[in-house]
Symmetry: D2
Subunit: 329 residues, 4 copies
């Protein structure tokens, strides 16, 4: 009864049948992806009840060491603005309504009180809002991280793998790999998938090594690309998932949605990074960061690691949260 | 044309004409409050264009010193759950809707994709949501911090003193003054206003001294009071504003709304802490924190200071933001 | 993971475990109710694909005859105001936000344009919003009208029995049975269930006879009862369902939710009118009408039938709609 | 502080500075439009307190006569679906969320109850939602109908000229002028403005004459135009306002927004029909009707007048309402 022909994707800007094209050749065969999924799968690694996944890579020692990175006493947000403006990448813009403006500030019941109020609403997944993906956001063959069934995500909220796993914040060492800077280009082109080799080249170039428990952010220069906002965004090669697994990274983030956009509709793995990380590894993702100011500060200070704090809202049963990650130098 | 007789306050649970009672005697005379307002007023102190107010007390040195407080590598959220359940203190509950459940995870346009999505909406001011009050939330005689007019808060958003002043996070030393513990009671009674003397007694008892640039949180034990949730909440005495001013505190927070509830309808200063701090000092407030777990951890570690990170959403023109403050030990 | 202990009903003001009391004795035994359900069940009566249920009682003849009732040329709304004010019966109030006020009327991109805009949002089921219940709103043992499974009501919308069955409006003869007037009381008490005998007494007293295809509205005087708004509302006795079935009524409405409130938590049939009508008969319901002005007009004109038009919004997959039924005399 | 450069119009699909082009030559000079405004202005005509404007053209006689048009007993909706799908003409799509699906139908507190619930939200102005424009939606030089100031439209709602003026429904004779049929074309081209001459040609061709108190709907064939949905929509020539004034029409509606889209940004009268009708005449407008099925039925029955009922929601202080107008034959 719903007009599914004209259905519009809840997560991206893909509309109906209009974008059938694949991203060049398939980046990896399905059997390769399946094998990779088996390899990185952490199901059971931290117990059958675990809902934290690779957050388990961050222990007290990692938290304490990361704080020692605070030297200059400077902070920078990794968040884009709350996305209230419609656009090709923002088909369902966030809401920000002033319930009471300054003109109408007098409360009828409290003669002395003068106040303004507002309301916000957002479907935070998608291509524009800076957000955390919880482990219940993505499924593979009906299962999510640690083998829990998709049916756990009910209309009253998820009963497992919700964003509440990160309620006390994700705090640790942040690493920024600025790929355009490392590769000597202005930005990564939309049809490119960043490879593990390129990440390692960036490590060498920038003088930083991704280590156990790190919160890794990868800059593709999305926001400085001419044409930015057209729904075409570079992503990471599926093999990066294997590399993240070996390095025991805790969280992955990027200035895009980490997977290339638009998704490859011809593949059974249309968003392989999401599938391999969230479902397989139990790795939460940070999508749509703003890494421009952080990259400038890293370059100015000539260091690419810092303390980072990610503080999702305590949405019980939620599939994620809008966030404002703070990098502290 | 709106039925203002039955109007329901946007910020608290006061309905219409039902709660005329004052909180015992007026805590301070109007002339006293006016004098206090003049005394703590920081208008112009950091320039006529300043929109950060007492956040100016936090400089690089304060940020760096606070990070040195991270020793045990433990974190704790100071946030209550996203308040979707109605109640006497929550007349306009937040919304959390599952747009797509696990059962319906297959995207019509992407055969391989399996995902769930949700939506959140909230009018975050009030008595239940853990939130940051921006400097454009409260006015006094039509003016807000630094003398800017209430008319700056328009229906399309505030053009000054918005929450964007804190976009890069509020990071520094957090101090928790656990008043019930210090005063040897289970909780602070709703009809009590915590005084500067009591805060200083708590400092001595807990062995911590509030200093310049601190983010001070004051626990009244709201959540452990029998009857909790009935709209009656202890607050701070107006004189505390003078004390905060002398100590050069950067931000004030509490497990209640900092002002006693219900507000004193007979006074021209119904929410004196809000008026003195936000309007006078330019001090942002943290309302409705959950300080229970943090207080337990402080007691366990026998220390009442820690690194704290507050990361509001980047709501352009917003009067505040829901937050999940993270205390890091 | 959701705090179900404190869960608040989506449809009424019942909170958690606070209202266990039954409405006196059970009004009918469970076996009686089951037998009544079998008796009134219209499944298959209009074909196995039918989604209109008792709307099938309204044919062209009924529509045309109803129009002949328009003589005085007067109209009256049967709707309550859009319920934006919180209250005991309105735990999740509707939203009405002014996106652009008159002060901010100038559109940035169109210098000559001056306009205001607003936004509305509502969870229309419950005790206060005047709304239509579609046939997919209620289930019995996992089934809805015509035997369709509850699983047809998915997170992307219902694929059968949605409000779209009434997209072309419900137009026909409206009958108002003013029970307090007929029974010589001010209002029906909350603990009373109106019986078929009482409805027939009202027919005789008011001089009107409910007939095939009628849209019947029953006034209990909810809005004039002292204490109105406390969550206690009179309803119809389950046997009324059998009576409606015999009379071949098309739609039932009332100034309450038709079932007595609070619902009988001890019964397996907590809302028997909803269950018998929506699920069994396929009869859509009109909840929370405002019948005060219509009753006055009926009394003034001394006639209790009129043309009525109910025009739900075209919410594809929706379980109902807010409505403003118009009675035309 | 808001990024007004990229501001997106609340009412149409115009983004930022991207659509500067005018619709060919200006259709009328500004002095002509100003003179026309003076001519059609009904301010004071029905008293200085009047908020109903041209609804005053509909009296009991008009309502009664319209009901006599019901002969065949058939009804048809003039509403488009609730617009939840994004698109070029729908940059801020409506929301329809299932709060509780059929799978999760069991209420925690009522073991016997099985129900589903949903939520709707909409900013109903714009190019897609079928809605009624109230008289407080548009201003001219800071004034709205009857000389009331724009400042009456406050953040808590409009205190005059709100949609509540139509609370008892708009009921009367509907007339459909099917312009493509009358003019022998498939649809009216976007760059065309329908003139009074063309309306009169349609009257002659279809055999119907627009009279005092009529609710006139003009079909341009928007929905059958190839390319439909691209933001380009035919409208009415400003001179039509004068013609409506002479004919004493009560309400104007169309399958587009009545004014041509995109609006003429070079003119001081970018939406002249809105300005002349709503502000000058006090004539409420019906935007974005679906006239396809009604036109087919009119052609089948070979008559172009019918009873029509428009029932806005009772949004106190609202600038309009989503509607489902019902034509009854």
């Amino acid at each position: 009864m719903n007009a599914l022909n004209s259905w519009h994707c809840d997560c991206c800007s893909v509309t109906g049948i209009s974008r059938l094209e694949a991203i060049g050749e398939l980046s990896a065969s399905e059997s390769e992806l399946q094998a990779l999924f088996e390899k990185v799968r952490n199901w059971g690694r931290w117990g059958s009840d675990d809902q934290r996944g690779t957050l388990n890579h961050i222990g007290p020692a990692e938290i304490a060491r990361a704080a020692a990175l605070v030297r200059e006493g400077r902070t920078v947000s990794l968040s884009r603005p709350f996305p209230t403006q419609p656009g090709a990448e923002n088909p369902r813009p966030a809401q920000h309504f002033m319930m009471v403006t300054g003109e109408d500030r007098h409360a009828p019941h409290l003669p002395g009180m003068e106040a303004s109020f507002d309301y916000i609403g957002i479907a935070f997944h998608g291509l524009v809002c800076t957000h955390l993906d919880a482990l219940c956001h993505i499924f593979r063959d009906g299962l999510m991280y640690n083998g829990r069934p998709a049916s756990d995500v009910k209309s009253r909220g998820a009963v497992s793998n919700s964003v509440m796993a990160a309620r006390d914040g994700i705090v640790g060492r942040g690493v920024l790999l600025d790929m355009p800077r490392a590769l000597g280009v202005d930005h990564i082109e939309p049809d490119h998938l960043v490879t593990p080799d390129e990440l390692e080249a960036a490590e060498r170039k920038l003088g930083v090594t991704v280590a156990k428990g790190d919160i890794l952010t990868v800059r593709i220069g999305r926001d400085v690309r001419p044409g930015n906002g057209d729904g075409r965004i570079a992503g990471l090669h599926p093999h990066v998932a294997g590399w993240l697994h070996e390095r025991e990274v805790a969280v992955l983030g990027g200035d895009g949605p980490n997977d290339a956009m638009p998704p490859n509709r011809l593949s059974a793995w249309p968003n392989p990074i999401h599938e391999l990380c969230l479902v397989g590894m139990g790795m939460q993702l940070l999508d749509n960061l703003d890494l421009e100011r952080a990259a400038k500060l890293c370059a100015e200070l000539d260091r690419w690691s810092f303390q980072i704090v990610i503080a999702p809202l305590l949405i019980e049963g939620g599939t994620g949260s809008p966030i404002n990650p703070i990098a502290i130098f």
